[in-house]
Symmetry: C2
Subunit: 402 residues, 2 copies
Amino acid sequence: MTLSLDPAAQILAEAAQTDTPPVVEPEAPNGQGQVAQFGPDEPLTMDAGVVLAPFQIAYQTAGTLNADRSNAVLICHALTGDQHFAHTHPVTGKRGWWETLVGPGKPIDTDRYFVVCSNVVGSCMGSTGPASVDPETGRAYGLDFPLVTIRDMVRAQAMLLDRLGIRDLFLCIGGSMGGMQVLQWAALYPERVFAAMPIATGARHSAQNIAFHEVGRQAIMADPAWAEGRYLDMGTRPAKGLGVARMGAHITYLSEPALHRKFGRRFQGGSAPTFSFNADFQIESYLRHQGLSFVERFDANAYLYLTRAMDYFDLAADHGGVLAKAFKGTKTRFCVMSFTSDWLFPTADSRAIVHALNAASAAVAFVEVESDKGHDAFLLDEPVMFAAARGFIDAAARARGL
Amino acid sequence: MTLSLDPAAQILAEAAQTDTPPVVEPEAPNGQGQVAQFGPDEPLTMDAGVVLAPFQIAYQTAGTLNADRSNAVLICHALTGDQHFAHTHPVTGKRGWWETLVGPGKPIDTDRYFVVCSNVVGSCMGSTGPASVDPETGRAYGLDFPLVTIRDMVRAQAMLLDRLGIRDLFLCIGGSMGGMQVLQWAALYPERVFAAMPIATGARHSAQNIAFHEVGRQAIMADPAWAEGRYLDMGTRPAKGLGVARMGAHITYLSEPALHRKFGRRFQGGSAPTFSFNADFQIESYLRHQGLSFVERFDANAYLYLTRAMDYFDLAADHGGVLAKAFKGTKTRFCVMSFTSDWLFPTADSRAIVHALNAASAAVAFVEVESDKGHDAFLLDEPVMFAAARGFIDAAARARGL
């Protein structure tokens, strides 16, 4: 049960057989995996109306690219996710965040597929973002970094795939913000996506979700240590503000039944309240821990940028207000998945995607998974999700002759 | 359509006819209504195991107490509510918060009933709370103020009613935290409550609700201007932290459909994003306004205390874990009301109350109002709520011979 974590040799081996010679990227020195550098001659054209150059994309891979390069899977990570889907996290030391779904013999079988996951542009795990050094000033970009959109993330991923010599994807898959990228991939590069699996996501962010994100941003910006975004220059970190933002967001990732089951009204180490503002309830202690641990692994400005990217996402608006037009003529086969207790991206959001795909005469399967785990169910042990993913992916593989 | 805002003369007129001479309280100098002072010989015994003395309770009244003092209604306000249910707010200049429900000819008819509403102990609108001066130090209490419970609030209200010469209530009514007080009244002083109407509330605070409150408290405490609760001494105010807390809480008071209907994804003054962290979306601007305006009228420490009181509330836990025991042998008639889109206190919470009342053989009506306005529906124009309240109150009045 070992993952092939170094596909570079394999890529090189295949290079002779194909048109585009893939480039072997160096390992990042900080454990963030491999890094693709894009120089001044390869800028990222961004929706904000600016070009970003130079920039870099950090990524991880597993499995081996086959001879005709037809078995590539792109995993798109969520808001605070990263490229370490099947690799130990360099900061937290935790196992890969999607090892439940990806690995030898798993639904995304690394014995069969070549799996890529890149840290999105605007994030802070090795790809260029607001914490990166602005070559023009020699300081961290901070708020001088251009606003990032989901489409910008997808464009950068496409450039990475070009670099890796991957023309088209067998499968593009992701949950939450990752699912937004999957939808954007299918809309922007339909000919490059054979199968798409957007999970626990929506084609646009709701007013309530924008509202929750805005509270998180205001919590960060209210922290004096944020220093108008220049905290890295000052050697400070808005840890309190970012912690509060994470605590609030974390509630939205769970369901009330899950919170009740896990914590209920149980007190910390006792059966009675202390009549103080200590973390009396277990749920309080848990949330505080979530806030503290998040601060250790994430950049506050990156959090501002990525939440904003999700807020701005509205695929229908990009197509005259008609979501079906985003998928017109698509040949991609879709599997849309939601979870019954997800109130951040409720099933209605997935149904809207399915209806649009139906209107576009696309091949689409829809699975609503019965789960009380809330939005985060897509990251957890959900056998029905695994079974449905396996069925969809296996069928797609047969259709592609894999 | 004028309210009788000065019942003091009427109370005096009735005094000769009854046993207990009611005390006429002075008007507070700051527009907070009347104030009942309780001296060192009349302490409030609190659940935290301390006694509070001296203390004061600010209150407002409307209507006229009848000769046999059988027509008194106690309105219990919500978390950030106050005694100005039918009176212009001294800070905001807004009309009374429940003038939709209370007034001449309204379901709580001030031509028929004598209506009292007091600012809860621990709050900041004239009743003693953490912003009050601690007579022992001459400074604001801050976190030296004892933790307050819903039961403490009710005990203080009972002392106020004693002062006003009101032995028992015709009706005790309130929403949200006000509903918790109604349930506590019925459990603690069943012989003093003829009819009770808890609205949009629960017999205990859920793990999710505790979680949301904890995020708000952490936002306040993260603000350096909070100064460990001593901000009044320092002449500062944790306005940013309190604003963030309010923004987050406000989302929970509304429903996603209501947010979608009112704001959707509409941009401020334009049809496109500005690619900045300005309040691009109308919902963002609205939330920021909610945060700012709240800071002007509310004390941050009081917010900590009152959220904590709600978190601690668990009526069943006070009765061996069996909610029905809280109402054993009650003669009070109940009307329990919920709103379909209230996800803070969902209908299931009300059903749990109704089941307990049924188990206690209490007289109980249950109304689930179809509304998309979320938790705050109880404060809004909801004709079905008004009609149900009128029906219940009129029937109770007939039963009481009013």
